[in-house]
Amino acid sequence: MYIGLRAFWLNQVILETEMPMFIPMRERRQQAYKSLSLIFVLAQAVLILLSSLNQKPWSSWGRGGAMIDAYGTLTGTAGTYFFFAPAVHPQWFVQVHAAGPPVYDEVVGSSALTEEGALKMVLIEDSFVGTSNIPLLLEYVSRHFFERHPDYKTVTITFGYHSVPSVTAWNNGRRTSMTKSIDMTFQRFN
């Protein structure tokens, strides 16, 4: 019984002496948390604003600047601004033609792909045009074709763009047409 009472008394003493210290500690922790969150959010806002203005003073800060750049890109803080602007480019196409039998003729992305797949294919073509690597893209398409169709020995890959007529031309009966730009022939060696 004594032990029980003693324990109760000790517990009360501890509670009474620690309580006043405990509450401010918790409040202090909350204050620190709030301050840190505010700093983080303000830093994010500055990063968003500077990136949107294409001002990146950190690019001259060496490794630290590279880390900020990486953080901004991975988290989407540094982009994507100026999206879908300002110009709408023509849509490219890649056509595969292999002499048969049977004759193989297909515009990449026009049939066997889902809507999203076809859209992604257009974006792949767009990326290669943007970096002026069209022959490399055609080579990739030929390699892909030979892997899928081992019976063919030769394939011709044509690259071009869809020309959208003006409104006046449309009203005169012209429709979107395919304009060829480059074609390359590839041969299987093994």
């Binding site: 909350q30 948390y33 709030k34 969150s37 505010l38 959010v41 994010q44 806002a45 968003i48 604003l49 949107s52 990486a70 890109t73 991975l74 988290t75 989407g76 803080t77 982009g79 994507t80 601004y81 100026f82 999206f83 879908f84 602007a85 300002p86 110009a87 709408v88 023509p90 849509q91 196409f93 990449v108 992305g109 026009s110 066997a112 792909l113 889902t114 809507e115 999203e116 797949g117 076809a118 859209l119 992604k120 294919m121 257009v122 974006l123 792949i124 990326s127 290669f128 893209l137 990739y140 398409v141 892909h144 892997e147 869809h162 959208v164 007529p165 409104v167 449309w170 009203n171 979107t176």
Partner: protein, 306 residues
């Protein structure tokens, strides 16, 4: 998941109060999860063409183009080999993992953890399919980053409410910046003023939507000009009309209509739906949560904030 189940989440119940609620975080996670799952399922059928060593542009090449710090499936390839996942199998495994965590995110299963896993796996997949990434992937990345940071549940103490409000404001700020910069950039060229951008976009075979608007635009060319200028007004006017509560009631539906138009006429449904989700989460989460509550016919109870 039924609407009844949705409205039983504390975040949704909180929407009936004037106090800051967590409805935006719940809608962000479940909305982004649903749209990204829709996109992932569309990509699954063509995964072999788009991602992996057998893709048209092999992923190991695409990964080389990315900066060193951008994670890709190639980073984990040596580890996956030990599990018998070589070549294309490694890419299929990563994409399957991404799809599964998306389902968990929609179900609100351990939201903080699944949010982090979806964000990380989305980053890895984007890094391996660099050439086919577009606006939807970039904006999804932005949304997923906020879903990682956002609190998941109301707990004792005011920190959760404080952090949620602060983060929500930052999210709104980023949306405002994204729209204004996009609108200003468009206004610098002549294509959006004379309607050419709308006409060209509608004329592209890959962007041919459910509704072919070209005959109508050819008969009334002023409509294309009007649509182009409307886009500029909507985007540049975004901060002025979206931030005040009174004008937001008009502007938010207009912005949503613009994005649904992109889906309907240009067939870019993933992009359109991601933008709708982000806009609703940024500026209309409480209304959307109320609507979900009403649809489920379960009376909203006020959430007592601590």
């Amino acid at each position: 998941m039924s609407l009844g189940a949705i409205s039983s989440f504390p975040a949704i119940r909180a929407s009936g109060t004037s106090a800051p609620s967590l409805s935006w975080t719940f809608l962000l996670r479940s909305g982004l999860g649903s749209v990204l799952l829709f996109q992932a399922l569309s990509v699954w059928l063509n995964l072999r063409e788009i991602m992996g060593p057998d893709a048209i542009v092999p992923s190991p090449i695409a990964e080389l183009v990315e900066p060193r710090w951008q994670p890709g499936v190639g980073w984990f390839a040596p580890l996956l080999v030990h599990a018998g996942l070589e070549g294309q199998k490694a890419y299929i495994f990563c994409f399957a993992f991404y799809t599964i965590v998306l389902v968990l995110l929609i179900l609100n299963f351990s939201p903080k953890l699944t949010g982090l896993l979806v964000f990380a796996s989305h980053l890895v997949i984007s890094g391996s399919s660099y050439f086919s990434s577009y606006g939807v992937d970039q904006f999804a990345g932005v949304g997923l980053f906020y879903s990682v940071l956002a609190p998941a549940r109301m707990r004792d103490g005011s920190n959760v409410v404080w952090w949620s409000s602060l983060l929500h404001s930052l999210f709104r700020f980023q949306m405002v910046v994204a729209y204004v910069t996009s609108g200003l950039a468009k206004s610098l060229g002549s294509q959006w003023w004379n309607g050419e951008a709308i006409w060209l976009a509608l004329g592209m075979p890959a962007l041919r939507g459910m509704v072919d608007a070209r005959p109508l635009l050819a008969s009334f060319p002023a409509l294309a000009r009007l649509a182009g200028i409307s886009v500029l007004i909507l985007e540049i006017g975004y901060p002025f009309f979206m931030l005040p509560k009174v004008t937001r009631r008009v502007w938010l539906p207009l912005i949503i209509a613009m994005h649904l138009g992109i889906g309907l006429f240009l067939n870019m449904w993933s992009f359109a739906l991601i933008m709708v989700v982000l806009n609703i989460c940024a500026f209309g989460s409480d209304h959307a949560a109320c609507l979900l509550g009403r649809l489920s016919r379960i009376p909203l109870r006020h959430f007592e904030t601590p």
